[in-house]
Symmetry: C2
Subunit: 633 residues, 2 copies
Amino acid sequence: MTRDIYLDNISVEDAIEKWFANLNFDVSTEQIDIRRATDRVIAEPVEAEISAPQFHASAMDGIALKASKTAGVSEMNPVKLKQGVDYQLIDTGEPIPHEFNAVIMIEEVNQLNETEVEIEAGATPWQNIRTVGESLVKDELILATGREVGPYELGLVLEGGITEVTVVAQPEIAIIPTGTELVAPGASLQRGQMIEYNSHVIAKLVTKWGGEVTRKDIVPDQYQQLKKIVSKASESRDVVMITAGSSAGREDYTAEIIDDLGEVIVHGVSMKPGGPVILGKINDTAVIGVPGYPVAAALTCRLFLKQVLYKLRAQSVPEARKIVAQINTKLVSELGVREFVRVKLAKLDGQLLATPLSRSSGVMGSLVEADGLVSISEFSEGVAKRDKVKVELLEDNNYSQDKLLISGSNDLTLDLIKNELAQEEIDLLATATGSLGGITALKRRECHLAASHLLDPATGDYNQSYLVKYLADRELVLVNLVTRQQGLMVRSDNQIQVDQIEDLSHDDLLFINRQRGSGTRVLLDYKLEEAGINPAQIKGYDRVEYTHMTLAATIANGESDTGLGVLAAANAFDLEFIPVATERYDLVIPKEYWTDNRVQQLLKIIRSESFKQQVEELAGYDTEKTGQVITSG
Amino acid sequence: MTRDIYLDNISVEDAIEKWFANLNFDVSTEQIDIRRATDRVIAEPVEAEISAPQFHASAMDGIALKASKTAGVSEMNPVKLKQGVDYQLIDTGEPIPHEFNAVIMIEEVNQLNETEVEIEAGATPWQNIRTVGESLVKDELILATGREVGPYELGLVLEGGITEVTVVAQPEIAIIPTGTELVAPGASLQRGQMIEYNSHVIAKLVTKWGGEVTRKDIVPDQYQQLKKIVSKASESRDVVMITAGSSAGREDYTAEIIDDLGEVIVHGVSMKPGGPVILGKINDTAVIGVPGYPVAAALTCRLFLKQVLYKLRAQSVPEARKIVAQINTKLVSELGVREFVRVKLAKLDGQLLATPLSRSSGVMGSLVEADGLVSISEFSEGVAKRDKVKVELLEDNNYSQDKLLISGSNDLTLDLIKNELAQEEIDLLATATGSLGGITALKRRECHLAASHLLDPATGDYNQSYLVKYLADRELVLVNLVTRQQGLMVRSDNQIQVDQIEDLSHDDLLFINRQRGSGTRVLLDYKLEEAGINPAQIKGYDRVEYTHMTLAATIANGESDTGLGVLAAANAFDLEFIPVATERYDLVIPKEYWTDNRVQQLLKIIRSESFKQQVEELAGYDTEKTGQVITSG
């Protein structure tokens, strides 16, 4: 087998044009009951079969009469009318008897007795009468070709006496997940295995975009087996999606199989994520080879699958809503590649800011967290901080501006706060930049508040001297969030015998560090100096993780042996914990935001008993000072 | 029975406040499979059960190696590496063997032979490696309480090793349609009967807003029967909707039944349409008495039901998208009543105009045609033409600005044009204002073009002298649409013996006229004068309809005996037709719009053979001049 490791590099637009030129978008139709046609597209004009109303009907509850009977009538000159002779009681919707031509509403009728009324105002002919066909007239066009059926369209069609309509057939899509390393959700994982969820995400996107979907079982990377399934699916579907196997891996058969059964039209688009996408066809079926990374897969669907689905439904793709915002940090991007960056929108200092989220195509959470996408042109090397960018909102995103941006040190209690704030409809975006990163972000006005636990070895105190050094020009309030234990984590068998900081220099031990600027790194370096250990002696000192939890996970999974972190992280992964220090973990809040509702809500939460209780349950935390103002000014 | 004919008159906001103060919005929850949880609301925070990836994985297809093996390597100083010793082939997603710490992508590997490669650039430690937990770390918060589940959320939850989540239970809504005069869709109608479709519309709205719906069969206006069904429904549902019977009719039992079983909290809101709405409760169940007019029913759902549904889902109602536009015609509104006017948005002369549609609450089509709603405050008597108004877009409305506004005479061929234009994604809004009304609308710059068939008795010609008189200051192109026959229509038994215009003065005949300013009225008056008939002699001369089709429907349904209209309308209702005249029906197009794409598309359509053929099939039409320019300048 020859490995085709060099892919095409054409633009998104050229790729679609080239692909579409090879596809056949014949629209097929079917007759269905309008009550089952929600979101379907009308294929043949719908005309009323009956008029509505079919008779002159009363538009009010009241009495029907001849208008001429009230000629000259006024408050000073009322007229008495007899039931059955001059008038008849009538309710809304009832037919007007032929001998009458007006309705007076009941509120304006003075009932004298069972059979007599008095009227104090003249009626004009045809007042309060819905005439034949007011709503609809037989043969009138109700829905034009191409109209999507919603609740109101349904009502109008039923009113027109119609129950069957001709609609565009739903495009049928097959999704084939491939990969020997994949297992279905719910299974437990062996080393090297991953849960296959792309096919589920794509299936929901297809439904959202009006297609009908069949999800196949996971197919291992076996050429003949995969080919057979692709071939069969392409016989009866409008689109076949093969997820993963589109790249240059040794077992990436997708391109070869499409080529074998039909034609690869594009393999590789100059975009990121999703570059290795394959666009092809097998007979009249469009085929997409979807890259395996989840964000790449989602973007491929958005850019290519969605276009095909709407074509097959004879609709143009609804324009995504776009919002202009300022980018919150500089973004460097590769020339010649269009990059789609997930961003979160939030107001800060009166400006709408777009904060970029993880740019890794493997981080599904970035799509969940994101409000929209910023597209960085292939002709640009990136955008400068505070440049204006167009943010294309994601599906159904009714983005809220009630967001709170926190930057700096990462702690498990931020998740608790996020969940509590969510119930007040405030969305907390915590960016793990390390304690010093948070202070820098505050200085650069990139966030509302920072989280920090920076030890000053000279004083033994936390944070204050750093604020004086880096944020002297801003009035700040330092509020304690928690006091927490830091310690060395090791797998519970502890075969490598770590009992104290001094043991870190042992030759047979692989350490995992936290990044520069993090409070934990500052603490470690202080402890190493105290113990007289040169960092160069520690194997793995240069390898870093960015949060306590990823550090703990790395140790638990045997990729490293030990590292410094909080007790809760160690507990989460059943690691042994050797206490090293107890530290103060604070929130740094600029005074200008102190009265902001979002900040006040946050303070209310962390000062509540229920929050403190949740924190205590995590172990290794002390909430004695939680919510207290440490310094202010 | 006492009829409660005077309703409350409180504002929408006060009504909701009063009602909600009496309701109980306890949220119930349930555990379901995340794959069935689309659009559901998370009720308990979802935390990852596993990390992803669970191991250090290759981020690329390539070779895994020790980075140190490439120290000092460059293009000038390449290094040879041996498979199995120095490196190992690796695909995206595969675990990195513990002895290696970097991946070089396959495109940068120079394969020398089966077991040997050459490398020309140094690798840095941990390059192209996804570390443990890059996407998700065990115990990390994946979805906060209150989050709605979409395709991406589904993916993230599955990736976190979770299949079951706790979500807010779907609110359960029962819809009970009532009315002895109502029949289900598909049935044929007796005089006085109407098709019940409100319950179907409401059911779809409930689904859209996240509720679960049960639609009951139509209940006749019988107190005990209705009471029993309402009582039973209220036992097991969160909301019971009773459609119709909310007003002051003799058989409007809704309020009484709610009062009997529970409590009427509000009956009557100062709004239009939908004023007679009832808001009540029976035990813990919210009850809404929905007015019977379809637009009133839809608005009631939008204003009240939607609020309750979102409350029950522990969500706030998503804010509707609002757009500022200029109102296209003056709107007079009643002081003290908030009126919601359906409007259509279209660009004209560079301005976004909101053209009001029918304000009758019985015209369902106005909701289908509308892009949004303009709310006229209860403190306002209306808005002046070209006043700025806020238009609240209707659900899912991705309104297009590609609309063509035509005003003036009504003709059946406009429906054909509308359907053809729809396929070019151009939306035609035809307003039936009569020929002279169309010319006036052009003069007032309320539309793009007008349709007219105004006979000049002095010359026998059509339209031109009127354009000179009313639109002398504008350069216009007059294009023929069709030539058509006008005649007197009578029911096919023709018991009233109409053979010619002269017969219209007969005493035993009830005439139905067209409105002043319509071409047909002008033609009639000319013919009457010719015949020496005084309009005062004609019974029904003062009673008008606005289109050929409603006129024909009125005659067919026995509400009138005869009137003047086109052959196609007569044929549609199986009426006899006594020809009176053949007339030219033209389009009046200002020169400034002539090159506009929308106008050009319209011209292309009417000049096409397929259009002419469709017109000829209608009968009574001649397309000999169709599409021809009559005058220009």
